[in-house]
């Protein structure tokens, strides 16, 4: 198959990523239903436990499947993946829902006031809007545990900064373009930040090092300084003070 033929194949299609990975592409746009199918496919593939499949990376609209060619060849795996996709059951998988406490504004929410000005609303309105939406973790990438969240209300869409800031702390609640984020590790970023969560999205010393995974649903809840302080103390003790709802 030549490269040009590849582009004209309809979705779903399977693309080689060298000699130890396949990309199962379901679409070329960001869409909640597409992402739900990506996550469902990952679940179905896990359940099938195909020998030679070693890792999977669910992203917005495709699933990267890593394999050991000494155990299963890419050509054979492609056929099995397409068969699996044809099954009706690969539609949606049970998701988890979590509420993330946020201390809006302050030092970590460096852009809150300016952003509110820009949008012609008060900071309190902006907080209310941000914390009223339902978000979906489309994928984890960029840095350990970094969650790309879809579902940001249109009014809050904001371009990234032309010059990234050198250091944004872990836990910072961000807005980049049409996406929302929770910073998992400290580092440079061109996103705008409106608050912080005491939760740690990534802590290698925890039994569950990563808080979120692709397909999770997230809501934000504003907390006051006193509650943030209590939560900080709990997190410092290694606790993860959140409640999961499954469904």
């Amino acid at each position: 198959m030549t490269a040009l033929q590849l582009a004209s194949l309809p979705f779903p299609r399977i693309a080689a990523c060298g000699d130890h990975a396949l990309a199962v592409e379901l679409s070329d746009v960001i869409d909640e239903a597409v992402n739900a199918r990506v996550v469902a496919l990952a679940h179905a593939l896990t359940a099938q436990a195909i020998a030679g499949v070693v890792e999977m990376v669910p992203t917005y609209r495709s699933l990267l499947v890593l394999y050991d060619p000494a155990v299963v060849r890419g050509r054979e795996l492609s056929v099995r993946l397409l068969d699996l996709l044809a099954e009706e059951t690969v539609r949606d998988a049970p998701g988890r829902q979590v509420t993330v406490p946020v201390s809006y504004g302050g030092e970590a929410g460096i852009d809150l006031d300016e952003l509110a000005d820009l949008k012609g609303m008060t900071p309190a309105d902006l907080v209310a809007l941000h914390s009223s939406a339902q978000y979906r973790v489309y994928m984890i990438g960029f840095a350990p545990g970094f969650a790309y969240l879809g579902g940001l209300p249109d009014r809050l869409h904001t371009p990234r900064l032309a010059v990234p800031r050198q250091r944004i702390e872990a836990g910072a609640i961000g807005i980049g373009g049409m996406q929302a984020s929770i910073n998992s590790v400290a580092g440079p970023s061109g996103w705008r930040f409106i608050g912080r969560t005491p939760l740690r999205l990534f802590d290698p010393s925890r039994a569950e090092p990563f808080l979120l995974r692709a397909g999770d649903r997230v809501r934000f809840r504003a907390v006051d300084a006193a509650e943030a302080k209590d939560l900080d103390a709990a997190v410092a003790k290694g606790e993860t003070p959140v409640e999961w709802e499954i469904g």
Binding site: T2, A3, L4, Q5, L6, A7, S8, A15, A16, C17, G18, D19, H20, A21, A23, E25, D28, V29, I30, A42, V54, E55, M56, V57, P58, T59, Y60, R61, S62, L63, L64, L66, P69, A70, R73, G74, R75, M139, I140, G141, F142, A143, P144, G145, F146, Y148, S184, V185, F202, P204, P209, F210, R213, A214
Partner: protein, 323 residues
């Protein structure tokens, strides 16, 4: 407990084991060695298991001492190795005694070198691996490059013979083989012809995360932004500059640039070892062919590791050991 003392450190000296699989979906790439075969060989030459950690260096090694007797081996490329000034060969094991200083100089004709010490580097495991992931600050010694003055814990070194490689490992010359990538169709026939004609210069803009290439500008007719998807080691991304970026051991796990091709895993360590300034060309092979090469590589490596030669003991060097 035995320790390795670092008296001098090259610019990119890190602790590595075979890597940290299983966390790609959480945004953590595998890290591990840039040239896996060379690191495995160094470990086997000193009687270590595959899974034990060694040191990886780029360009220049450093100076090292130990507190109790060990065996060591340096693999990866041609490099000046001395114990208290007396030259020693690469690709075979030697003994290092307390009071002696091991020096590893500059690599010639290669980039990444490996120093394995019997017992292995015994820094803590993070997410199941000792590999340093510099970008994420994970593993190794506090997730960072090593520096003069650092001390690394060593595992228990079992007694064992000195070993040598039976034959030198030739690095096959010729084009770097690639499999058309997931966005291969974002590049038209003329661009593909230019990509395969090259040549590309291996620039000094390279680290454990990525290798930048310079050559004909590669244009994606469909634009240089895609909805981010997963990456692998060897993914060749084409950003809007038109200059290819080959992703390496510490890559970002997802990316938003179109990926024209993926370097065959057989040839990726070879690309990693090509000195900056060299010219390379790409050649397309099928996924099937690349898989055959990958399988052949692991068989060849297994054969090499099973075929190490016993080596006669060497006269000791230091006054301390001679007394």
């Amino acid at each position: 407990m035995n320790s390795l003392h670092i008296l001098e450190a090259g610019p990119m000296l890190t602790v590595q084991d075979l890597g940290r699989p299983g966390y790609l979906r959480f945004g953590v790439s595998g890290a591990g060695p840039m040239d896996r075969s060379s690191m495995r060989l160094a470990n086997h030459l000193v009687g270590n298991e595959d899974t034990q950690a060694a040191l990886e260096f780029a360009s220049v090694g450093g100076a090292f001492t130990v507190e109790t007797d060990v065996r060591f081996a340096v693999c990866g490329g041609s490099v000046a190795i001395t114990i208290d000034g007396t030259p020693r060969h690469g690709w075979e094991s030697h003994r290092l005694y307390p009071g002696e200083t091991l020096r590893i100089g500059a690599m010639r004709g290669a980039v990444w070198g490996y120093l394995a010490i019997s017992g292995g580097i015994d820094t803590p495991c993070v997410l199941g691996s000792r590999s340093t992931h510099l970008r994420s600050g994970l593993g190794g010694l506090n997730g960072r490059r090593l520096a003069a003055g650092d001390q690394l814990p060593l595992g228990v070194s079992r007694a064992g013979p000195l070993l040598a490689l039976r034959h030198a490992v030739p690095r096959s010359p010729g084009a770097i083989r690639v499999v058309p990538g997931p966005q291969a169709g974002h590049f038209d026939a003329r661009t593909w012809a230019e990509f395969l004609e090259g040549p590309f210069r291996v620039t000094p803009d390279r680290d454990r995360m990525a290798q930048l290439l310079e050559g004909p500008q590669i244009r994606a007719f469909a634009g240089h932004d895609i909805v981010s998807d997963g990456t692998v080691s060897g993914s060749i991304q084409i950003p809007s500059s038109g200059r290819p970026i080959v992703l390496m051991a510490e890559r970002q796990t997802t990316g938003g640039y179109p990926k024209i091709a993926t370097v065959a895993s057989f040839d990726l360590p070879r690309l990693a070892q090509i000195p900056s300034g060299s010219l390379i060309r790409f050649r397309v092979i099928s996924q099937d062919h690349a898989e055959d090469l990958a399988i052949a590589r692991s068989r060849h490596d297994a054969q090499l590791l099973a075929d190490l030669d016993l080596k006669p003991e060497e006269p000791t060097i230091s006054r301390q050991s001679q007394s």
